[in-house]
């Protein structure tokens, strides 16, 4: 081939510089800032000390929030698999003439703003919301049940956000299965259920695990559902970062928490990539 060595680099230059200057350098800055000191006046003083990290692990307050984030992330992952697999399977196996419309249904939630999907739980679970209104009307309860501002309502908000990602991942991996394998299994005498258990399910697992990783990362990085639907004790790690940076302008400490979150996710993503390969996630997101 012709030696056009500079050409791909010229094409890549804008993207690489965008990611380099707007992502890699800023993340390095977070790391540097996490060692700085904060003067009582609020000014940041360049330093190299581990005080911000020590502060995080000094008592149970901050680690507890970290553990809560991990627990909620695991809960979201499991619920998303349970709720998402069957609809994805339905869309995959459906031979209805509305199949195109069904596929649109997978994408539709992505197009509605996250904040709208989150805040609407207030319309549903609030004191005069849909559920309470209905229960009062049929006379099952005399006074509205408080449902909002606890971990359950936070979880509802999260599911609303995460479930579409999980369904898309599972659906894409199901769609990638060669259907003749299924026919072969049926020809050899498998029942529908056996064919599913022996062929479809194992072959769709890469999509399931990719969905799990994505849901985990997304949960760890969001502060909106706890902020809008949670009570004072439902903060997650991202809320902590938001409050430190936007609320108290404590940049060094906010940076240190970001570094802790980033390293934790790095370990998880690295382990995942080592054993399962990360490409499945990218493959699914390609499905649009």
């Amino acid at each position: 081939m012709k030696s056009v060595k500079w050409k791909p680099w010229a094409l890549l230059a804008p993207s690489i510089s965008a990611v380099f200057f707007l992502l890699i350098i800023p993340v390095c800055f977070i790391v540097v800032y996490s060692f700085w000191l904060r003067a009582p006046s609020g000014a940041d003083i360049p330093a190299f000390q581990f005080g911000n990290y020590a502060k995080f692990f000094a008592d149970f307050f901050y680690p507890e929030i970290l553990l809560r984030t991990l627990r909620i992330a695991f809960e979201s992952v499991i619920i998303c698999v349970v709720m998402g697999y069957i609809p994805a399977y339905f869309f995959y196996r459906s031979e209805s003439r509305f199949k195109q419309v069904f596929l649109l249904l997978i994408m539709l939630p992505f197009w509605v703003s996250f904040i709208i999907r989150t805040m609407s739980w207030i319309n549903i679970m609030g004191d005069s919301g849909l559920i309470n209104h209905f229960l009062l009307k049929i006379g099952l309860i005399q006074a509205p049940i408080p449902m909002l501002y606890n971990e359950f309502s936070v979880l509802m908000g999260l599911l609303m956000y995460l479930l579409p990602f999980m369904m898309l991942n599972i659906y894409v991996s199901l769609e990638g299965i060669d259907k003749s394998l299924l026919e072969a299994a049926r020809c050899m005498g498998c029942t529908e259920w056996q064919a599913f258990r022996e062929v479809t399910l194992p072959l769709s697992l890469p999509g399931v695990s990719a969905g799990c990783l994505l849901v985990f990362v997304l949960t760890a990085g969001t502060y909106l559902p706890p902020m809008i639907l949670g009570g004072p004790g439902d903060d997650m790690i991202a809320n902590l970062i938001y409050k430190r940076v936007v609320g108290t302008l404590d940049w060094p400490f906010g940076s240190a928490i970001s570094v802790i979150l980033l390293s934790l996710l790095f370990v998880i993503v690295w382990t995942y990539n080592r054993y399962l390969g990360i490409n499945q996630i990218f493959k699914s997101l390609q499905g649009k």
Binding site: V4, K7, W9, L11, L12, P14, S15, I16, A18, V19, L22, L23, I24, I25, P26, V27, F29, I30, G84, I86, P87, R93, E95, M107, L108, P109, F110, W111, V112, S113, F114, I116, R117, M119, W121, I122, N123, G126, S128, G129, L130, L159, M160, E192, G221, T222, Y223, I228, A238, Y242, V245, V246, W251, S255, S258, L261, L262, L265, L285, Q286
Partner: protein, 264 residues
């Protein structure tokens, strides 16, 4: 055959329930937007357009809409352009470090948005620059670039190199080849990428909340600040307008592109 088995019926039922869960909050926003009363949520007390009219007269909301639209359009333009260039490099050339660079460009998907938001803002603070509209644009480009890359690369990989080589044999120069052959074949992916980055930018809140200032509010940021008080029919009306806009745009684009390709 399968359609009548009890198992399949259960699967269908389950799917309907999951979708009821996913769509009830969205439908409720739209329904409540027409609720004429000022406080509380349900019951509906008739149907009225008063909240929409109030929105139309609220200049800060109109500004937020303008900001969001311009921001989305600029983000889509920039990130689709640089995304296509990068995708061409990945699909059409072999060079050392290809996989590493591809992973690097896709990395923003795997970095929590809250960290992305803090990092860029911190960098700006270090440079001693004030928050500006430009910050929102560059930030949204980083947020959307990976998605554009994924979509365009998938499509570009499917275009056979033969067409381009045929054009070159027939005497077209590289630029002509791109304009006459590669680009038209790539157009659906370009549109999909642009549309996708527009909707991501238009809807984003997590990182945008760090980057927006009082002068540069987007619609989701506006909704967020209105939520400080409590939910109101006015917020629902604003939400309904957003939903209609972000759902209708891709649907319309899909419909048009299908019609367009059929006529061709």
């Amino acid at each position: 055959m399968k359609s009548f088995s009890p198992g399949w019926t259960l699967i269908k039922l389950y799917t309907i329930l999951v979708y009821l869960f996913l769509f009830t909050p969205i439908v409720v926003v739209i329904v409540l937007a027409f609720n004429p009363k000022q406080f509380g949520i349900f019951p509906m007390e008739g149907v009225s357009l008063r909240w929409f009219i109030k929105l139309a007269h609220n200049s800060s909301i109109i500004d937020a809409f303008k900001n969001s639209l311009i921001l989305g359009a600029l983000t889509a333009l920039v990130s689709t352009t640089i995304g296509i260039l990068a995708s061409l490099a990945f699909i059409r050339f072999e060079f050392p470090g290809k996989n590493t660079i591809n992973t690097m460009l896709l990395a923003p998907i795997m970095i929590p948005e809250v960290v992305l938001g803090v990092a860029l803002l911190l960098f700006l603070r270090f440079l001693q620059m004030p928050k500006s509209f430009a910050l929102l644009v560059v930030g949204h480009v980083v947020l959307t670039l990976p998605y554009v890359l994924l979509i365009v690369q998938a499509r570009l990989g499917g275009i056979r190199k033969d067409y381009e080589e045929a054009a070159k044999c027939l005497g077209a120069n590289p630029f002509q080849t791109f304009r006459e052959v590669t680009f038209p074949l790539l157009l659906p992916a370009v549109l999909a990428g642009a549309l996708f980055s527009f909707t991501i930018s238009f809807d984003d809140i997590t990182a945008t909340l760090f980057w927006a200032s009082a002068q540069n509010q987007t619609v989701p940021v506006k909704i967020f600040s209105m939520l400080r008080n409590s939910i109101s029919p006015e917020i629902n009306a604003l939400g309904a307008v957003m939903i209609v806009l972000t759902v209708a745009t891709p649907l319309l684009a899909g419909y048009l592109s299908r019609k367009f390709s059929k006529e061709k």
